[in-house]
C-alpha cells in the first residue's frame, strides 16, 4: 500500500500514532527512514513526524546538558556552550548529513555508525522516552542493551557536561578522510581530582553491535594518575568485553588490534 505521512504537533500524539501502527516509523532527520523508503522497504507504510518545539531544543545550561532528540549535529556545532561536543558532531558524516542527522537517530544507528552515542555513553546520558501514556527515563546503557525491543519515542537526552574541557576526549578512526565510517571510535570522560582520575567513563563505538562502555579500562584508570604505568594497564584491558563485527571496512580482528593502539594514543594525547 502507498505510504501515509502523519504530522503531529506534540510528541505525545506522535508516540500514540507509533504505538497504534506496527508499520509506522518515526521520521526525524531522514537518514534511516527515507533511505529505507527509497530502497523499497515494504514493511513500512506510515511515516510519523512531529513539529514539537521541544524536540529540537538545546538546554545547555548547568552540569547536565539536555538535547532534544531532533537536534542535529549542525545545531550542536553551532552552539558555543557545546564546544566539547564539536569534534564528536563533526565526526558524523559530511556537512549535508550533519544538517540532517539527529541525536535521536544516532542512538538507533547500527554499527559501525553511532559515534555520537559513544560520546553520550561516556557522559553518562539518560534518555527520556515518550510513550503513548506519558514519559519515562532510561539510562542510555540500559536502552542500548535491548535497543531493538524498545518501544516509545525518543524525546530528549540528558548528559554530564565534562568537569573541564580537557576531561573529555574523543577519537574516531576511519579509512576515508575526512568523512569515513568508523573502524572504531573512543570517547572518554576522565575527571581529575588531586592529579588522579575520579569517575572515569570510557565508551567505544563500532566495537560491539551497539556502542559499549569499556569497564575494564575504566577500572584500570580509576583513582590513578594518568602516567605510563596506568596507561599501559588500561591498554592491557582495552579489548576486554568487546565483540566487534567484521564488515566491509575492517575485520573483527583488526578492530580488536586497533582499540589498544588508539586508546593509548587517546590517553597519551598523541595524534
Amino acid at each position: 500500500m502507498p505510504i501515509t505521512v502523519k504530522t503531529f504537533a506534540s510528541l505525545g500524539e506522535a508516540a500514540s500514532a507509533l504505538a497504534s501502527d506496527r508499520d509506522a516509523r518515526f521520521l526525524a532527520g531522514g537518514t534511516l527512514v527515507m533511505r529505507a523508503i527509497n530502497e523499497g522497504d515494504t514493511s513500512l507504510s506510515t511515516v510519523v513526524r512531529s513539529t514539537d518545539r521541544s524536540f529540537v531544543e538545546i538546554r545547555p545550561a548547568g552540569a547536565r546538558v539536555t538535547l532534544g532528540a531532533g537536534v542535529t549535529m549542525a545545531q550542536i556545532m553551532a552552539n558555543r556552550e557545546l564546544a566539547f561536543l564539536h569534534p564528536v558532531a563533526r565526526a558524523v558524516g559530511g556537512p549535508a548529513i550533519r544538517n540532517m542527522a539527529t541525536v535521536g537517530g544516532n542512538l538507533f544507528a547500527p554499527s559501525p555508525y553511532g559515534d555520537f552515542t559513544a560520546a553520550l555513553l561516556a557522559l553518562d546520558a539518560t534518555l527520556s522516552m515518550q510513550g503513548s501514556y506519558g514519559g519515562r527515563e532510561t539510562p542510555l546503557e540500559e536502552f542500548l542493551a535491548n535497543r531493538e525491543r524498545n518501544s516509545g519515542l525518543m524525546a530528549s537526552v540528558t548528559f554530564n557536561r565534562p568537569a573541564t574541557p580537557e576531561a573529555f576526549r574523543f577519537r574516531k578512526v576511519a579509512r576515508v578522510k575526512p568523512k569515513g565510517i568508523s573502524i572504531l571510535s573512543i570517547a572518554a570522560h576522565l575527571p581529575m581530582k588531586g592529579g588522579r582520575v575520579a569517575g572515569a567513563r570510557v565508551a567505544y563505538g563500532a566495537m560491539a553491535p551497539t556502542p559499549i562502555r569499556a569497564k575494564a579500562v575504566e577500572r584500570a584508570l580509576e583513582g590513578r594518575a594518568l602516567d605510563e604505568s596506568t596507561i599501559s594497564s588500561a591498554i592491557g584491558a582495552a579489548a576486554e568485553g568487546t565483540s566487534p563485527a567484521t564488515d566491509a571496512i575492517a575485520s573483527a580482528w583488526y578492530r580488536r588490534e586497533m582499540i589498544a593502539v588508539h586508546l593509548k594514543r587517546l590517553l597519551a594525547g598523541t595524534p
Partner: protein, 544 residues
C-alpha cells in the same frame, strides 16, 4: 601539476598547429556547471512506468517453481515479465563479434548462477508499487553447492557453474581452456639462470562506482519504433544487443545517449536496455529501469579478480632471460567480456620489456559470483601490478636499482615482442628517465643516456625457435624486413644491443661502454611531418 616535455622526441613532431595542443575549454563544460547537461534519466516522459527486477538470494540454485499470481494482482502492476517472455533469452555480448557462445539469460528460468541474478521483472506505475509486487513473488529453490575460487573451479569434480562451459573455463579456438603465448624456451632459460623467482599475485574485484548508476528509459516512438535513452558506453553495441535479445530489426530501435555520468567499463553490458525496451513493447508505455546504488555495487558487473603466477629468470648482470605467467581471470557466472580480457592479457606479457623467452597460459574461469566485465585497463591493469611488483623484487634480489633495471630490460624500437610483432614508437626508457629526474631518484649517467631509439633490432628483432606444447617446435625467424613504421632516423645504423650492466652493488667502479646518443636528426622537411600528412601512412593495407 602537468608539464609538457616538448624537447623530447621533438624531431618526430611538427608542433605548428592551430587548434591541436591548445587547452581549449570542453564543449560540454558549460552544460556541466549549469546542470543543463542532459543524462539519460533527465528525459521526462508522460505516463512513465517503472521496472524493478527480482534477484536471486542464492549463489547457486535450481529454480523449482516461480509463482507470480499475487504479484500480478498487486496494486499498480502493469506487467510481470518472466524469462519465457524474452524472445531470445540467451545471449553473450561478444556474439556481435562472433566470439563465444550464448551463455547468459536476461531472466533466469531453470537455474540461478550468482547471488543477484535477475529472475522476474515487474513493471508498475510507481517504484513503490513495483517493490511491493516484487515482495509478493514466490520462488522455490533447490540450493546447489557454489564455487568461488578460480583454482577450485577448474579442479575435476567442481560444481558446474555454467552448463555452456562445463569445464568452468571459456573455450579458445574450439579446443583449449586457455590462451597460450609461446616465445623461445623458458624451461631452458630457467635452467641456466642465476636466479629464478616465482610469486603469486591477486588482483581484487573492483566496482566502477560511477556516480550515475546503470539505467535506461525506453518509449514507443512513431512508426512502431522505440526510442531508448541510454547510458551505454557503446551505442550500437547496446542497440544491436537489444535487437538480438528482442529479435527485432535494428532499425526498430532508436538509441539516444552519448552523455554518460561516468562509465569506466561498467556500462558496456546493456544491463537495462533489453528489459526496458521489452517492457515498453509489452505495455505500450515509456518504461524506466534504473539500478539502485546497492544493486549497482553488488549486482552490476565489476572488474574481474585475477590470480596471477609469475616465474622469472634473471642473470646477475640484470638481464631478464625468461618470464612465465599463469593467470586465472574470475569471470563470474557468465562470460560477458572476460574472454576478451584474456586475449588482451596474453598479448601484454611480458610487459614493456624485451625478454628472449616468454610463456603464458591465461584462463577465463567461471565461478558463482556476479559476472565480471570491462573496466579501465582490464586484462592489463592486474598483470601490470604483478609484473611491476615482480620487477621490484628481482631488482632487489640482484642488488640493482629498480629504475636502472627497467631501463636495461626495456623494449626498444625494432625489438621483437613475444606476440611476434616488432616494437615500434617505443618510449619506456624516456618515461623512466624523466620520472627519475622529477622524483630526484639518482640513476647512473649511462642509463640517463640510453634511448628507446638506439640499441634495438638486430639480434633482438629475431624470433627464437620456440618449443610448443606437445613437443613440437615453431621454427626461428630472422629479423623481419623494415616496415613502413620506420622513420628516416632509422637510417643511422642501429647500434648494438646494450652491454650487460653489472649491478652497482657488485662492482660500483665499473661502468661499461654504452652506445653513443643518437646523432642529431636532420631538421624536419617542412610539411613532411605535419600530423595530417602522416595520416597517409594509415590508410591502405599496411600490415601490423
Amino acid at each position: 601539476m602537468l608539464e609538457l616535455r616538448k624537447e623530447i622526441f621533438a624531431d618526430e613532431r611538427d608542433d605548428n598547429l592551430n587548434e591541436i595542443g591548445k587547452p581549449t575549454q570542453r564543449q560540454d563544460m558549460i552544460g556541466h556547471v549549469t546542470g543543463n547537461t542532459a543524462f539519460f534519466d533527465d528525459h521526462k516522459l508522460a505516463g512513465l512506468l517503472h521496472l524493478k527486477v527480482l534477484r536471486s538470494p542464492h549463489h547457486h540454485a535450481r529454480i523449482r517453481r516461480i509463482d507470480t499470481s499475487d504479484a500480478e494482482r498487486s496494486a499498480g502492476v502493469r506487467r510481470v515479465i518472466r524469462g519465457g517472455d524474452v524472445p531470445r533469452n540467451l545471449n553473450t555480448l561478444l556474439s556481435l563479434l562472433n566470439f563465444g557462445k550464448d551463455d547468459e539469460p536476461s531472466l533466469a528460468t531453470d537455474k540461478v548462477r550468482y547471488r543477484g541474478e535477475p529472475i522476474i521483472a515487474i513493471v508498475a506505475n510507481t517504484e513503490r508499487e513495483a517493490f511491493e509486487a516484487l515482495a509478493k513473488v514466490r520462488v522455490d529453490y533447490d540450493p546447489l553447492t557454489p564455487v568461488f575460487d578460480v583454482e577450485e573451479a577448474i579442479k575435476p569434480g567442481a560444481p558446474v557453474v555454467n552448463e555452456t562451459y562445463p569445464k568452468n573455463t571459456f573455450e579458445y579456438h574450439g579446443k583449449y581452456d586457455h590462451q597460450k603465448l609461446r616465445f623461445g624456451d623458458v624451461e631452458q632459460a630457467f635452467a641456466q639462470a642465476d636466479h629464478v623467482l616465482e610469486q603469486r599475485y591477486q588482483m581484487s574485484p573492483i566496482e566502477h562506482a560511477s556516480t550515475e548508476t546503470n539505467g535506461s528509459i525506453a518509449a514507443p516512438e512513431t512508426n512502431g519504433r522505440f526510442v531508448v535513452y541510454t547510458c551505454a558506453q557503446g551505442l550500437f553495441f547496446s542497440l544491436d544487443t537489444t535487437a538480438k535479445i528482442l529479435d527485432v530489426q535494428s532499425n526498430k530501435l532508436h538509441f539516444i545517449g552519448g552523455t554518460v555520468g561516468g562509465g569506466f567499463g561498467g556500462k558496456v553490458d546493456s544491463l537495462t536496455e533489453p528489459l526496458a525496451t521489452l517492457a515498453s513493447m509489452l505495455t505500450g508505455r515509456p518504461v524506466r529501469y534504473v539500478l539502485g546504488r546497492e544493486e549497482e555495487m553488488q549486482f552490476g558487473s565489476p572488474r574481474g579478480a585475477e590470480r596471477i603466477y609469475v616465474k622469472d629468470a634473471v642473470m646477475k648482470d640484470g638481464r631478464l632471460t625468461a618470464r612465465k605467467v599463469r593467470s586465472y581471470l574470475d569471470s563470474g557466472a557468465y562470460t560477458r567480456l572476460s574472454s576478451y580480457a584474456v586475449i588482451k592479457c596474453a598479448a601484454h606479457i611480458p610487459g614493456p620489456y624485451t625478454v628472449p623467452n616468454v610463456h603464458a597460459d591465461i584462463y577465463c574461469v567461471y565461478t558463482n559470483r556476479v559476472p565480471a566485465t570491462a573496466m579501465r585497463g582490464f586484462g592489463v591493469t592486474a598483470v601490470d601490478f604483478a609484473i611491476e611488483c615482480q620487477m621490484d623484487k628481482l631488482a632487489h634480489l640482484i642488488g640493482m636499482d629498480p629504475m636502472e633495471f627497467r631501463i636495461l630490460n626495456a623494449y626498444r624500437d625494432g625489438d621483437m615482442k613475444a606476440h611476434r610483432r616488432e616494437a615500434k614508437n617505443t618510449a619506456l626508457i624516456e618515461c623512466v628517465q624523466v620520472a627519475a629526474e622529477k622524483a630526484k631518484w639518482p640513476i647512473r649517467e649511462e642509463f640517463k643516456r640510453m634511448s628507446s631509439r638506439v640499441g634495438g633490432g638486430g639480434a633482438r628483432a629475431a624470433i627464437p625457435q620456440t618449443r610448443l606444447d606437445g613437443g613440437a617446435q615453431a621454427p626461428a625467424r630472422p629479423a623481419p624486413q623494415r616496415t613502413s613504421y620506420d622513420r628516416p632516423l632509422a637510417a643511422s645504423p642501429p647500434a648494438p644491443a646494450p652491454q650487460p650492466i653489472r649491478p652497482a652493488s657488485l662492482e660500483p667502479q665499473r661502468t661499461p661502454s654504452q652506445p653513443p646518443p643518437p646523432a642529431p636528426p636532420p631538421s624536419p622537411v617542412p610539411g613532411a611531418q605535419h600530423g595530417a600528412a602522416r595520416f597517409s601512412s594509415v590508410f591502405g593495407t599496411r600490415r601490423r
